[in-house]
């Protein structure tokens, strides 16, 4: 029999603590849409997406209403477009426009996969696609792009890193009149996961089935309020509290994922065990860290606290779901987290500290606003540092920097919605141009030789 306390606990989580399913993401393979004629290929892509995902939004909303759980986003991820566009000549932006049209027809919030995987070098179509990313993002609203520049197995492609430094800046410049939104839809990865439901880095890996449903959960508010009930507990006890809460949150994701997959007739992929914040009050990962005992996120002790939080989320979540994947862990996007924004505004949370934090949590330098006059080689160097952390630690790291064109340290850039706002953060003005300009490949580390 159901227990009244448990029922009200669940309702409180949803009503007051912002518990929600962040996204149901349908992964769709476009491998069967490849054609040497770009117009034909685009037509096939449009048809396949709008056929497979035609009921995604409706089913998502049905589940939302019936189960009483908010499902914030419905999204689509597709095979990295560089693989599809490799076979045909022509401007790859045509694919971006096709994805945009498909996204609008299906009514989804985002479509990811305008991507290239170049960790060990460029194959046909990769360079053209990467060069076209700024234009593709400027001409579309829902399309997200990502590029994988490194992996533990392959090392880091420094040529691609240098290129991405330039591309990130161009993406900002081309959308300078729209809060530089272009670069907010572009992620540079090391060890990119192939089943990630979260944007902007979602794409449908080539090892995935034809169509699949992946789910990303959220719930920083729930974790913070659970921790708040134990002001005098030891850190061991706090870890246990977080584990139990993560279990409950993930179970909900599992339920929604299985139900969506049943109703759509599509296999269920994974639950991403994530703590994804939003700028809303009470939905912040930084506030969990502060609840545990930091005066302000970013101060000494932040990395250790975050490591514990990230680990407990995974341990609690892993038993709650039949299949786990994606990024899985706590996210620390600065502009999307009220506590992070406040800490960055006070100057307590710095780029250097964020870099350390990314070594122990799920993603990387995410939604960080940097001065508009930053050089391409400095962006590339930041990407290289972050990729190195991922490569050596056999984990996913990512960089989503937003050069705020025309703004300097202390100014604010506002995106609105889930992307939030944030202060322009200081960077080191000493150059790394020579290093980046060397090009070549940082060889794979010893960790890659596991066989």
């Amino acid at each position: 029999m159901l227990n009244v306390t448990e029922i009200f606990e669940t309702i409180k989580m949803i009503q007051e603590e912002n518990l929600d399913i962040r996204t149901i993401t349908m992964g769709i393979s476009l491998l069967d849409c490849i054609d040497s004629d770009i117009d034909l290929a685009c037509e096939k892509v449009y048809k396949k997406i709008t056929t497979k995902a035609k009921d995604l939004v409706r089913v998502g909303e049905e589940i939302e209403r019936e189960y009483g759980i908010p499902i914030i986003h419905k999204r689509i991820s597709v095979t990295p477009i560089a693989i599809v566009s490799a076979a045909c000549k022509g401007d790859p932006v045509q694919f971006a426009l096709t994805l945009e049209r498909a996204a609008q027809t299906c009514g989804v919030n985002f479509i990811g996969g305008y991507s290239a995987l170049v960790q060990k070098g460029f194959s046909a179509g990769d360079r053209e696609l990467i060069e076209s990313i700024p234009r593709a993002l400027a001409q579309t609203e829902h399309v997200c792009a990502s590029v994988n520049v490194g992996s533990t197995k392959a090392g880091i492609n420094l040529d691609a890193v240098a290129m991405m430094g330039r591309i990130v800046k161009e993406a900002s410049e081309l959308t300078a009149d729209r809060s530089c939104i272009g670069s907010a839809k572009l992620v540079v990865f090391c060890n990119a996961p192939e089943d990630n439901p979260f944007m902007a880095g979602a794409f449908h890996g080539v090892g995935e089935p034809d169509v699949i449903i992946n789910v990303g959960v959220s719930g920083p508010g729930v974790v913070r309020s659970a921790v708040a009930k134990y002001p005098d507990a030891t850190i061991t006890e706090i870890a246990d509290v977080i584990k139990k809460t993560a279990f409950k949150v993930t179970r909900m994701g599992q339920l929604v994922g299985v139900e969506a997959s049943k109703r759509l007739g599509v296999p269920f992929g994974i639950v991403d065990l994530s703590l994804a914040p939003t700028p809303a009050v009470g939905d912040s990962v930084a506030h969990i860290l502060e609840e545990i005992g930091l005066e302000c996120c970013g101060t000494h002790g932040t990395t250790a606290t975050l490591a514990m939080l990230n680990d407990a989320v995974k341990k609690g979540g892993v038993m709650a779901s039949s299949k786990v994947g994606g990024l899985s862990g706590a996210f620390i996007p600065v502009s999307e987290d009220a506590g992070m924004i406040a800490a960055a505004e006070q100057g307590v949370l710095t780029l250097e500290k964020l870099e350390a934090m990314t070594a122990v949590c799920s993603v990387g330098l995410d939604m960080i606003i940097v001065p508009g006059d930053i050089s391409a080689s400095t962006i590339a160097a930041i990407i290289a540092d972050e990729a190195a952390i991922g490569m050596v630690n056999s984990k996913t790291t990512a960089v989503r920097l937003i050069p705020a064109i025309g703004k300097k340290v202390g100014d604010t850039l506002e995106f609105g919605g889930l992307l939030g706002y944030g202060p322009v953060m200081p960077i080191s003005y000493k150059s790394a141009e020579k290093f980046i300009g060397r090009g070549g490949q940082i060889p794979a580390p010893m960790q890659s030789l596991k066989n």
């Binding site: 159901l2 227990n3 029922i7 009200f8 309702i11 049905e62 209403r65």
Partner: protein, 89 residues
């Protein structure tokens, strides 16, 4: 298939009657009712059988939410599975 209806708010006359009437009108059978006072708020939990429901669950949910608004109460309808999956292994 069962759903859980929860009502939270200030205690007023006729809450149970109104909610049960809407349930009956839609072919929903009330299986169990628990009432309690939660931090000086009236809280009612109703377990209902929705096997023979005559409208989509979302319509019932909308109707109840509207009545809730009129009476200054928060009424939520949620599928039973969510509680089972969250709190039971």
């Amino acid at each position: 298939m069962r759903a859980v209806i929860t009502v939270i708010g200030k205690d007023t006359v006729g809450i149970l009657a109104k909610v049960s009437t809407i349930c009956a009108d839609n072919g929903v059978n009330v299986v169990d009712v628990t009432q309690t006072v939660l931090q000086d708020l009236f809280a009612m939990v109703m377990l209902v059988d929705i096997t023979k429901i005559s409208c989509p669950l979302s319509v019932l949910s909308d109707q109840l939410e509207n009545v809730g608004k009129e009476m200054g109460l928060q009424i939520h309808v949620m599928h039973e599975d969510i509680f089972n999956s969250m709190h039971r292994i």
